[in-house]
């Protein structure tokens, strides 16, 4: 099953000039895990340069956000239920795991939250 919203990140983020500007000092790669499906999102100066679908023979990401398909689906609702409305909420309530070197994420936390929120309302899976 494909997580279409991961693939939509490039068009959504790159079309938002202000969001790209806010991420202009961010260049990194991060992994989004949706159940067992893995996507690596490459960010270059705030733009989504590439979205690659796994499985990957070599892990090539700096930090990872891992959650179930059901949890991401709730997160992506226009008005999510309490506890699924924000990645820090999902972390606190154990719906999501964060791994790796969190520096790029934490130093651009508002930017990455808006990157993920940019695909709210998109079709979740195919």
């Amino acid at each position: 099953m494909d997580a279409l919203w991961c693939e939509a990140l490039a068009s959504k983020v790159n079309a938002d000039e202000r969001l790209v500007w806010r991420g202009r000092h961010a260049s990194t790669s991060f992994l989004l895990q949706v159940d067992r499906a893995e996507y690596v999102i490459q960010i270059l100066a705030g733009r989504v340069a590439a979205v690659k679908k796994g499985p990957f023979p070599i892990a090539d990401w700096v930090f990872a956000l891992r959650a179930s398909e059901a949890a991401w689906a709730e997160f992506l609702q226009p008005i999510p239920k309490p506890g699924f409305h924000d990645v820090m909420a999902m972390l606190k309530l154990k719906h999501l795991k964060m791994e790796g070197d969190l520096y790029p994420l934490m130093s651009h936390l508002l930017y990455f939250k808006d990157v993920l929120a940019s695909v709210r309302g998109e079709e979740v899976t195919s």
Partner: protein
């Protein structure tokens, strides 16, 4: 300046602010206090890493100001209150003792008689301490986003690092605590306050919130016949959760509590109009309880 801006009517808010010099823990502090209205004193306490501006809507509500003298102060290190002399030689950490003393010192300095004390988040925690330890000082207590304890769920060191912008990370950490239905204007005003906090202040407040202010073992001892207590908590708060407040509701005899639908961790600041619909009946009940 254009003709339009020169002729536009100017709205001047009823809020008046002053600075008080208070001795706290043997050190002189310059503390900013503001107030509006006349009547029963309502002493308002802001959240961690924020300041009195969170209560701007309450202090501009004409109906409220007819019955209440609404007062708020910036804790030392916050808002327009300065840190004490020599601040750069130490690390700021808020303790239950210092927090309590600051509140009592402001109440004394303003000669407040049986004020209703209302606090949010760390303020919602300290009102539990006040109701337990100083019930004779307060006519009633209102806790917003009150919990007896909160476990940290991320490394707090992120909040105070020279290689991470303190304002950006503080706002990033708390942005999800605001309910998704809150008006954008108020959401971003609330986050702006967080962006303006001094280095390490939010983290220092969380020492009280996550460690020193743990009151789980003692909340049962709160006597609501001595200090009547109300709790209001937003549905979307994952810091102090509705379950945390429900625990207090079940544990403290005589406490009144309610979950505010759709709201988050900063009710008075993130969606003041909606919050006032929850608060006003509580204030009337608190007034009646205070009078008896």
């Amino acid at each position: 300046m254009s003709h339009d801006s020169m002729s536009a009517p100017v709205f001047v808010e009823p809020i008046v602010g002053r600075y008080m010099h208070l001795s706290l823990n043997g050190q002189l502090h310059r503390v900013y206090v503001e107030e509006a209205g006349a009547g029963v004193p309502l002493l308002c306490l802001h959240t961690a890493g924020a300041d009195t501006r969170q209560y701007r809507a309450l202090m501009n509500d004409a109906e409220l100001l007819k019955q209440f003298r609404v007062i708020a102060f910036d804790l030392p290190w916050h808002g327009k209150s300065s840190p004490p002399e020599g601040w750069r030689n130490g690390t700021y950490r808020l303790s239950s003792h210092d927090y309590t003393q600051a509140i009592l010192a402001v109440a004394d300095a303003l000669q407040l008689d049986q004020p209703i004390v209302m606090g949010c988040s760390i303020g919602g925690r300290i009102v539990l301490h006040l109701a337990l330890e100083h019930p004779e000082r307060f006519g009633a207590a209102i806790g917003l986003q009150s919990g007896a304890h909160v476990e940290p769920y991320y490394d707090l060191e992120w909040l105070h690092r020279s290689d991470v912008h303190g304002g950006e990370i503080a706002a990033g950490i708390v942005s999800g605590l605001i309910g998704p239905l809150s008006p954008a204007q108020h959401k971003w005003e609330t986050l702006w306050h967080y962006m303006q906090s001094g280095p390490g202040v939010f983290k220092g407040d969380l020492f009280f919130y996550n460690a020193d202010g743990d009151i789980r073992d003692r909340v049962k001892q709160i006597d609501t016949t001595k200090c009547p207590l109300w709790l209001l908590t937003g549905e979307y708060d994952y810091s102090c959760t509705p379950e945390d407040t429900a625990f207090l509701g079940k544990t403290i005899e005589g406490v009144h509590w309610q979950i505010m639908q759709g709201m988050g961790h900063f009710p008075m600041s993130e969606d003041p109009e909606k919050f006032l619909t929850y608060l006003k009946p509580v204030l009337q009940a608190a007034l009646r309880a205070r009078a008896t």
